[in-house]
């Protein structure tokens, strides 16, 4: 049986796949960051201001309280401190957990857009 290729859109799809997926990763990362900021339990101004998305291609991160003096205690808020009153109040893990479902939706949409290129 002979197969004749009448339309070959694969090169176009392949060319669009990476940029679309990068867009999907960026979108999910921003969404996770927005959820995390909304869930910041204490000191909303400093900690929320220092919770930011960082996207590099297909890699996305949300960083919180990374600089000393500007919410460096984010880890203690998330996982708790040893002294009395140091109860954990997670906001990053719930955001990432919610982001797992969002990522599937965003990436599926990105792949669909690439296939329509």
């Amino acid at each position: 049986m002979a197969v004749r290729v009448k339309y070959n859109r694969l090169p176009k799809v392949i060319a669009r796949l990476r940029p679309e997926c990068e867009g999907g990763v960026a979108k999910t990362t921003r969404r996770i960051c927005a959820i995390a900021v909304a869930k910041v339990p204490v000191d909303k101004t400093i900690l929320a201001r220092n919770t930011k998305p960082v996207v590099d291609g297909l890699h996305g991160e949300v960083r919180s309280g990374i600089y000393r003096g500007h919410g460096f205690y984010a880890g203690f808020v998330e996982f708790g401190a040893a002294q009395p009153g140091g109860r954990a109040q997670p906001y990053m893990i719930p955001a990432a957990h919610a982001g797992e479902r969002v990522f599937v939706v965003d990436l599926t949409a990105a792949i669909r857009r690439a296939c329509k290129a």
Partner: protein, 147 residues
Amino acid sequence: MSEGIETVDIIDPWLWSTLSTDATLLGMLPGTDKTKSIISTLAVGGVPAPYVAFFCSSPHDILAVGGERVDVEALYTVKAVGEGASWNTVKTIARRIDALLHKKDLDTPNGHISSRRDLVIQYAEVDAGTQFRHLGGVYRIRAYSTP
């Protein structure tokens, strides 16, 4: 389909009974009533180090078509907290915790449990000149009730 509130009905009791009945783990904790050194979120403070702390970081329902609940997927932080400038004390406790909780699939009196570690938790803090070290993991625990 799963019923009830699986985190308090199934997961919390399983974590508590697993951690508080393991002789090896209890042997690493101080005091005479060693179960007092295993605490959940609400019981913070006043416990001499080293101790074990666990709490639910994020619970999610897994729903089927029609809104029926299949199970609950929860991320639990379980960690050892110790005092000192070395990881040695908390390392042995955290290893024991991991041996008890990672890659477990079992039926409990209240339902089915499956548990895997998602990531390692490791950080140190200084409080009034004293170093505290936290070591453990975030465990992805799925549970559903059995009739």
